[in-house]
Symmetry: C2
Subunit: 467 residues, 2 copies
Amino acid sequence: MPSESKASRLLLLAFLLVGVAAGHDDAAMRRTMEEFAGFPVSDDVEGPFTASRVDSEGLQRQIDELASFSDSPAPSVTRVLYSDKDVQARRYIKGIMNQRGLAVREDAVGNIFGCWEGSEPGLGTVGTGSHVDAIPFSGKYDGVVGVLGALEAIRLLKRSGFQPKRSLEVIMFTSEEPTRFGISCLGSRLMAGIEELAQSLRKVVDNQNVSFLDAAQSAGYKMDPEDLHSVFLKKDSYSAFIELHIEQGPILEKEGIPIGIVTAIAAPASLMVEFEGNGGHAGAVLMPARNDAGLAAAELALAVEKHVLESGSIDTVGTVGILQLHPGAINSIPSKSHLEIDVRDIDEKRRNDVIEKIRQAATEISKNRGVVLSEFNIINKDPPALSDKSVVDAMEFAVKQLNLDYKKMISRAYHDSLFMARVSPMGMIFIPCYKGYSHKPEEYASPEDMSNGVKVLALTMAKLSLE
Amino acid sequence: MPSESKASRLLLLAFLLVGVAAGHDDAAMRRTMEEFAGFPVSDDVEGPFTASRVDSEGLQRQIDELASFSDSPAPSVTRVLYSDKDVQARRYIKGIMNQRGLAVREDAVGNIFGCWEGSEPGLGTVGTGSHVDAIPFSGKYDGVVGVLGALEAIRLLKRSGFQPKRSLEVIMFTSEEPTRFGISCLGSRLMAGIEELAQSLRKVVDNQNVSFLDAAQSAGYKMDPEDLHSVFLKKDSYSAFIELHIEQGPILEKEGIPIGIVTAIAAPASLMVEFEGNGGHAGAVLMPARNDAGLAAAELALAVEKHVLESGSIDTVGTVGILQLHPGAINSIPSKSHLEIDVRDIDEKRRNDVIEKIRQAATEISKNRGVVLSEFNIINKDPPALSDKSVVDAMEFAVKQLNLDYKKMISRAYHDSLFMARVSPMGMIFIPCYKGYSHKPEEYASPEDMSNGVKVLALTMAKLSLE
């Protein structure tokens, strides 16, 4: 395809996407577009200005409908891997993929792919997507915007008459959240071909002692353990991967900037820690005779905060999101405690230094309290990921064409993109969210911000599809 | 009844209970007994020495069978109010009561009574009993020894040919443990006629939002809220109440003493505390922007320990047995935390001073961390109970007749006796338990110690029955 024609098609697209919002004269705009495109606006487009609009109401309705598949009451959302609600959400997403005319397939663990075949399907595909699982009592936008928004981008591109060269594909990743099996980005990690994960998935169990394989089967993904390897992506399957996501931080909103172009994803690490002491009756065991595993956990939680703050960098964060006491009765001294700790930094070494200090604190606490540090397990300690220049360039091109202000920034949250970056050039588009809230019911992104994100995604994919 | 005959009957009983263990010559002992009794040993006794024996194997078998009704794997026991396992346990206890020839009845909340009618049933009854509910992952002896042991004491008395004057009654109390609704000694509290409890039971829910009334109905106790008042005991229903229990502390075992006579029950208090902060994404929210409700809880747990230790008395104990974080995900900053705190002392004022300091600490922590102290609720703050002299005297009589060493002591754990003491003269019999362990799977009492406890209980009840 001559490059002039390609450029024209993209410019047409950009015009379509800028739409009425930019305030152009309709007839003049149509003329300009047809000039750029070198062909009349296609007939299956309802009209250039109708077609150019993101269906914000429709997108919001889908977000609300998806949020209703929840194991906790609205406005909170709880949708855990392979639960009934997760299965309902999967069915819902596949339904929209079908409506969009995408070819739908699922892999062994339930990563869902909706493909729009390009004119040269032999080339690497341009992928986009995110997740729809939700941690307990969280919100409706995290991940969801990157799946439903991508499907809306596909609708826009189809309506505009765009014809992809490379295939375009929307992916709904399985279990980005670590809620059930303690493994974050389970689907994308496995797609990235991590052999250790394939091994550990054969034996991992949730806190109800249900194995991953049984849980998957109950959700309709019956597999032989060997099938886990079939999830691994073939080399060069994707020429690019772009994820649209709410920022989950306050920067874009505070600075009034509609689009963030992510240049790197901070390096997350997860620790699992357990103390074992002596339980006993809360009335009968006198204080000097106690080895309270719960108090050891309380001390460690405060030590995490202390060492994170002592790193001296604003970019170091540490969280004890899970702290459980066993047996968990008011009149019983905790005999065991379990903590799950999340530590992140944009500097991998500094993060690992903090982890080392947490380890030392745990050892010291166990000595002082006469409890056993029965587990100190670094579940993962992923390196940071950099966005690929080709994808960043395409995102910048799109944002500029759409006359949107933008900012290059770092993602402090991890995403499936962290693992897609191992097997594909990667980039992420951020949109603002209310007060930076995420992982709670107050999570919110405005229809306008989502609409901007969808347009940037559509144009970025279109550009990358033609390369 | 002439007092000589009464004394003779009790001495006969004591001989029967001392049994072969004391090493008497069989024929000589039989002669002595018949002399004391003034009548031949009754025909329905299989033989004086057989009849005199506590059936330790049978009692242990029952304890093991009861332990199999558990929602956690052996050796731990989890049997929560109105669960299926609790219902199975109730059926089991009623079965044994029937085997013993007792008249079985249940009140509206499921306190179970097995009555052996005396020759003068119009007099106040001599009651005994305990509970069989078990906190999560606890052991098989707490409470159970006082129910199954009491039923074994009834068997002994029946086999010995004893005829009670006052009726004897074995009670299985509903929900001594606070696991499900946060209310300890629910059954005995209600029997003691506490109006506030009757009111609060109309609306209390468990952590699954199941109401007390619905839970009771699902266990077969369908009631109108008004029926709660029918549980209140009529004045002078009981002339005495004795509870047999494992010590749940190490003293008897350490000192090699088989029987503890409890003279007072320490005063327990329960607090429920909640902090509300701001949640958010563990990666995205930087440390200075956080109001972490989980860290507030960790600080308060350590403050409880500090203030308890600073009371300066070995008798002050404080425990954070429950500490829950919401939403409870590794990558989510806790937006809420929930603590349940148990504080006890034999000195009520000193205990209340500690509670006040915990309250101050909670307020201070909430200020420092910018979290809201959304609840600081003293669920109960019961006064201590004293054993009644008449019951203590009867227990001492029994122990001396049985040639057992004993020690007067305080119960640091609370029991249903704490509330029975409000409506009846009360006393408790303690037996040693392994290392003082309780509320954990390692809980253990030896057959010999249980057998001694059963004998003391039988003779104490017999004596009180004739008074």
